[in-house]
Symmetry: C2
Subunit: 401 residues, 2 copies
Amino acid sequence: MKAFGPIPPEFKELRALQWVSEATPAYIYDFAIVSARIAGLRAAMPKALDIHYAIKANPMPALLAAIAPLVDGMDVASAGEMTRALGVMAGNRISFAGPGKRDAELEAAIRAGVTLNLESISESQRALAIGKALGVRPRLAIRVNPDFELRGSGMKMGGRASPFGVEVEHVPELVRGIVAGGGDWRGFHIFAGSQSLDTQAIIETQAATVALAGRLAKLAKLAPPLVNLGGGFGIPYFAGDTPVDIVAIGTALGKALKKLPKILSGTQFAIELGRYIVGEAGVYLARVIDRKISSGETFLIVDGGLNHHLAATGNFGTVVKRNYPVAVTHRMQDVAEETVTIVGPLCTPLDRLADRVALPRAEMGDVIAIFASGAYGASASPSAFLGHAPVRELLVDSRGH
Amino acid sequence: MKAFGPIPPEFKELRALQWVSEATPAYIYDFAIVSARIAGLRAAMPKALDIHYAIKANPMPALLAAIAPLVDGMDVASAGEMTRALGVMAGNRISFAGPGKRDAELEAAIRAGVTLNLESISESQRALAIGKALGVRPRLAIRVNPDFELRGSGMKMGGRASPFGVEVEHVPELVRGIVAGGGDWRGFHIFAGSQSLDTQAIIETQAATVALAGRLAKLAKLAPPLVNLGGGFGIPYFAGDTPVDIVAIGTALGKALKKLPKILSGTQFAIELGRYIVGEAGVYLARVIDRKISSGETFLIVDGGLNHHLAATGNFGTVVKRNYPVAVTHRMQDVAEETVTIVGPLCTPLDRLADRVALPRAEMGDVIAIFASGAYGASASPSAFLGHAPVRELLVDSRGH
């Protein structure tokens, strides 16, 4: 038997998930939890801090529309994401990061007044040239490749050779180049890692990021209008994971923002979160099509798998297969009765949603829930693989709004 | 510097790939290579052996239409794949395997005269009931969970507790149940693994599979009309990989089929191959958008990545990141000039197509080729991830047909 991760607090109280009768396979996103997370951030973070949503975590259009009034900005990673964000928010509140932006993407962003987070000097040259050709002053920020990384993060994005961002020593020159080239310099975007559950590491990284922004501003002799500190707040997925302490983070960040160097006194600061805002709000539901015993092991075969939820099967950039939180939806509070392996309908041994977990007995027709599924689910899975139907996505609000 | 895998022989001779001017990112499938692989199999395998195409490897419709006249059957893994196969082939030449088939899928298969490879006793009961309700005699084969596995295979599918197939000791009873229930029993489907490069292991597994079919037929006291021996022939992906010896396999299989037990004397045998037929025929092409040096490491940032080719980035069920064969398309025979890391445009460190490979210098605008990309490419990748455009797929024939 292998343990599974903690069920998010809002679902832990329930006797039964209420969406059992929905057609499966489906993702259900509970907006009550999304708005509770954002409200929690607003309460914990310094008043003046902007909160952005990184839509890569979950770009479902209805969800974006619901989140837009609650955040100060949205961050996108492609022209496709930008089009979605522009559907719910003005261009001047959107920023676009990502290496390898094509000319057409740069042009679309400049036309829409979206801030480009520049990833290289050659990208800045292309953007300035496109702005000139369009007769539009491009809004340009610099994505900095920080000279430190976020400890404990699932994906380190700083402190090393990287396709992301501009190295610290080239930043001052690039600021001057943007200004000289007629660009509207918007500031810095500094992202050191993601999915960290280490509160102290996040606090230290934010402090280092603020300090780096100050150092770069002094070298460039120009105050950045905005500094995006990145995100990196993780959510618990696996046994033993514990949530980050956002109150501690907010308190520390508040202190750091009170001791700013003079050059940053007029700077707006932002954090950019994706997974933290939507991850725990999502549940993946799949129905048991077959129960099967093979060599003494019990398998529940459900109607969706890695084609919809690659991350839960452990096949997306992970080395060790660990179990996401899981439950039998109509027996949330019942004691475990058997050890089962839950697999999807795909003809590959990779398609394993839960490995030898202890659960109440589920029969054919019953619905299994995989929690912590609101981020990097439907959009980050190979939905065409083996020709199964795409997954449904449903936005609900358990507060009844 | 890290080595990369062998470029398939047909491409190794070229000074330049001829599709440089195609819009990128794109998969190009050269049907000349597909048909050469099938012709090679026909020449190497026993005359009477059927060759099936497992369309999960690459379900592109134009490719299926081109392959259909060259093979004896197609194997599908979902109703979606079945619909595509029925577009190019009669239902009685198609078989459908996969755990967790829904009632609607069973019904569609039975209506179309497609053979269902049953994965469990309860699935057989559902299929027989549906056949009865429709007034159609269902074509039912049994997928056997073999009591051995294919050594050296990338994915072991036998010799262990498994969601796939029926355990050997239950098979005779299931054969009798199908016949008694009015089903048209079509035989066995026995699949012990995939992506093996160990010729001797494949030979031994095929011999064991033939022996198992004989043993099961004797226990069931009924001759199977068809025995599908599965596939498992790998292709070279990584440095040090060498191709399987299909002549040796064919010779050994020919001998095994000459020494059949009497009960199998009227049985038709088939092998089912996917990756072997199409894998080496495919090339993924992506264009260099940016060249960037970070901490002394050179990055080529190209216009497609794991959103199109998850397997090449090593993020699909693999533990160690190894490099697929790679080239700069217009400099195929030139000597290496620099060590580069090739990354896609996605805002994640997972998006790495080639890790520190030695190549001729490529400039912005040049096209990079990733070979051995014809199988489990476009359809097995999270194409919606981060909102980039889907990949083009193009079927060509370098013989000029």
